[in-house]
């Protein structure tokens, strides 16, 4: 089946959706390439990235359309006509066949691109501009288009001349809404690919920049401007995105998140330096960047505090800044704080949470109080997955082992304390788990282990034919 075709093939009478055999019959020397839907989508998304330079509001209209909301942006590029020309030319140079149009509503503009590329329709002129086009230009789907044609409604003007009630009754409310939007009566908002950042600053270069020094300088200047505009409204940035637009159309975005709202440009500067430094695939300037954009996509109101006298608050700020720097370099998930969880199961008793977001909570967390004058009852090092040990025998079935083999080394048990029985939480639905009996153990060398027997004797563990089996032993942690 034909997925897409070029202009010459269109002139020969081939059409999209035609079986390939029929097309070959009409045109024996047809050149055929396999369709790659994924690559097409990727290319469309890359083009959308590139279009970010015109407006932050770019929406995908699959399979091969893009909506750009250029409200308030056109004057930056010398007006609507100039913007349209720049866009079409730049994409044309890259080898894309582009049809583009500007209109008051997105649907009207899309209809125009299918019939009259390059048109710019002023507000209010939508209905007039499209009424002579065939109904297929609306893009309403095969069934509706055929239905309209059968009803004798050839052009959009024909359809528009009927009462809306009739159209809705015959073709459904969705089509009548689409038609209304195409005619400029009401508009559906486009859904941009990225949320609109709160603050954007950008710098364009007549001569593309490529050196690290220039990039760093540009970033720090942009940071100054960004901070200045945020400061006026008492905001600080929590999430910053730097987008580098390469001359050949590739766009690279780098995101930095912070635990506290940033209000100093030096901090932004440093975070990006760390991030750029640590990139696994470094920023490749190619033939240079012709635009750099810095945007604050998440901001927060900054509470101004009296900090000078309170050394503790200063320390906390410093710590948060350090965490941000480390997180910028090695990733936010790798810097963690610990929060207590209300459970008896040892491996779930502590929750590791990203430090950037949970630092304050962790500093005020309530940990269980330890019993005075008792030795530690929980190990200092805990294995994420308990490691199986070989226990030859235990004198009493419920008792501790006399010796065990862990990691191919034999340990003779010298001192034992236990069992401490920890039953699994039956109210949770994550499979049947066995009751554990924990023992604190010291071996002949003085090493202290936390081992447990997984399951009760003759109660919980059974082998294949239903008779009781001996439960397994595991080492779960090591005491200091």
């Amino acid at each position: 089946m034909i997925h897409a075709l070029d202009e010459a093939a269109g002139h020969l009478g081939l059409y999209i959706g035609q079986p390939l055999a029929n097309a070959r019959a009409m045109c024996p020397d047809l050149k055929v390439f396999d369709a790659d839907v994924v690559a097409d989508a990727k290319t469309l998304s890359d083009i959308a990235d590139w279009c970010d330079r015109f407006t932050p509001l770019v929406a995908l209209d699959p399979p091969h359309g893009l909506f750009l909301d250029i409200t308030g942006c056109a004057h930056l590029f010398g007006g609507e006509a100039a913007l349209l020309q720049t866009l079409v030319r730049a994409l044309g140079r890259q080898g894309f066949a582009v049809s583009a149009a500007i209109a008051g509503t997105s649907i009207c503009a899309r209809t125009l691109t299918r019939q009259a590329s390059g048109t710019i329709v002023a507000d209010g002129g939508e209905a007039e501009a499209i009424d002579r086009f065939p109904v297929s230009a609306l893009g309403a789907g095969e069934a509706i288009t055929t239905g309209l044609r059968r009803a004798g409604l050839k052009s959009i003007g024909d359809v528009a001349s009927r009462a809306p009630g009739e159209i809705t009754a015959r073709f459904g409310a969705r089509f009548s809404t689409l038609l209304a939007h195409a005619l400029g009566q009401g508009d559906a908002p486009i859904s941009p690919r990225k949320p609109l950042p709160d603050y954007i600053v950008e710098k364009r270069f007549a001569e593309p920049i490529a050196t690290d020094t220039m990039i760093a300088m540009t970033l720090s200047r942009l940071a100054d401007t960004l901070i200045a505009s945020m400061e006026k409204q008492g905001k600080g940035a929590r999430r910053l995105e730097a987008a580098f637009f390469r001359t050949d159309g590739v766009v690279r975005a780098i995101v930095v998140e912070t635990g506290r709202p940033v209000t100093r440009s030096a901090v932004i500067d440093r975070l990006f330096r760390e991030r750029l430094d640590a990139l696994a695939d470094p920023l490749d300037p190619g033939f240079g960047f012709d635009m750099v954009r810095l945007s604050a996509s998440r901001t927060e109101i900054v509470v101004q505090e009296q900090r000078d006298l309170d050394a503790h608050a200063h320390d906390n700020d410093e710590l948060a800044a350090l965490i941000d720097r480390i997180a910028a370099r090695i990733g936010g998930k790798r810097v963690i704080v610990h929060l207590p969880e209300d459970t008896h199961i040892p491996e779930q008793a502590v929750l590791a949470a990203p430090a950037q977001h949970h630092l304050a909570a962790a500093m005020q967390a309530e940990w269980p109080v330890r019993t005075e004058s008792e030795p530690p009852l929980r190990p200092l090092r805990l294995f994420e997955k308990p490691e199986p040990i070989k226990v030859p025998f235990a004198t009493v079935p419920d008792g501790p082992p006399h010796q065990f083999t862990w990691r191919r080394a034999l340990h003779a048990v010298v001192r034992v304390e236990g069992p401490e029985r920890i039953a699994m939480e039956w109210w949770r639905q994550d499979g049947k788990q066995l009751t554990r009996d924990y023992f604190r153990i010291e071996d002949a060398e003085g090493l202290r282990f936390w081992i447990f027997r997984d399951g009760l004797y003759e109660g919980e563990v059974f082998d294949g034919d239903g008779s009781p089996a001996s439960p397994g032993w595991y080492v779960h942690g090591l005491f200091a």
Binding site: D315, R325, R334, R381, L382, F383, E384, L478
Partner: protein, 262 residues
């Protein structure tokens, strides 16, 4: 030679001297560990604003961790603690458990953990962290021999620690000591619980600590106990004490080396 030039030279000399001799250490003071003999050998306690190394064999990792946590608890004085560790060490010897830390009498709220993927990023993160004066201590946990932690890396860390006053503790598991700029270097093993009745309380962290290097004093080997209630080290309570106190500057190896089977 002009006076200005001479004074510039003198300043430079002074700077070099400070870097070389690490005398800055004394500005930040020392923290007593609680073990009398060790404190006297260390001239009052563990030096702040310096690097201390703790080595151990692979299977002694938990004991060494306990010792390092004890040192960190002593020097950090209620300030945050940054624990930098390599992904690999968690597989080998388990993750640092915050419940276990709380059981040692230390505060898990002040611990921030950094999970570094490799040695380079762990080293770089520690150097950064050591320069941040809001921290009490930085612990760098590395497993196995590493080429990256050489004299240059060690010097970098020392300079950062001296600049900020933060103490750096290197926990080197399953590794052999290499030349470094550390203030002290320890070799840690677990020690037996004191002998006693089967029902008596046992299991308080007990270390067989060997001081291999001490820039400002003698070395030696002692049994230390961590007192979870008072958050400090102490002499092993139930071990027989030497009849006469060993001279502080020259610990008698015959006394401090002895170990009793449990």
């Amino acid at each position: 030679m002009s006076g200005a030039r001479q004074s510039a030279l003198a300043t430079l000399r002074g700077q070099i001297e400070r870097i070389e001799t690490a005398e800055v250490v004394h500005e930040h003071g020392r923290v007593a560990l609680g073990h009398g003999e060790i404190d006297s050998v260390l001239k009052g306690g563990l030096a702040r604003a310096a690097i201390h190394e703790v080595f151990c064999e692979g299977r002694q990792a938990a004991a060494a961790t306990g010792f390092v946590m004890g040192l960190a608890g002593r020097v950090s004085a209620r300030r945050p603690l940054l624990w930098v560790r390599q992904d690999f060490s968690e597989v080998e010897t388990g993750a640092l458990s915050m419940s276990g830390l709380a059981e040692l009498g230390l505060d898990p709220r002040r611990v921030v953990t950094v999970r570094a993927a490799d040695v380079e990023s762990a080293l770089r993160t520690s150097a950064d962290a050591l320069a941040c004066d809001a921290l009490g201590a930085v612990v760098l946990e590395l497993w196995g021999e590493t080429r990256q932690f050489d004299l240059v890396a060690s010097r970098k860390l020392t300079l950062a620690a001296q600049g900020s006053g933060v103490t750096g503790l290197m926990l080197r598991m399953a590794a052999q000591p290499l030349p470094s700029t550390a203030e002290t270097r320890w070799m840690l093993r677990a020690a037996h619980s004191p002998p006693g009745a089967a029902w008596s309380a046992w299991g308080a962290p007990r270390f067989d600590a060997e001081l291999l290097r001490n820039r400002h004093g003698q070395c030696g080997r002692w049994i230390m106990e961590w007192n979870c209630d008072e958050c400090q080290f102490s002499e092993p309570s139930t071990y027989p004490q030497p009849v006469a106190a060993a001279p502080a500057h020259r610990p008698d190896p015959a006394i401090s080396w002895q170990r009793r089977a449990g």
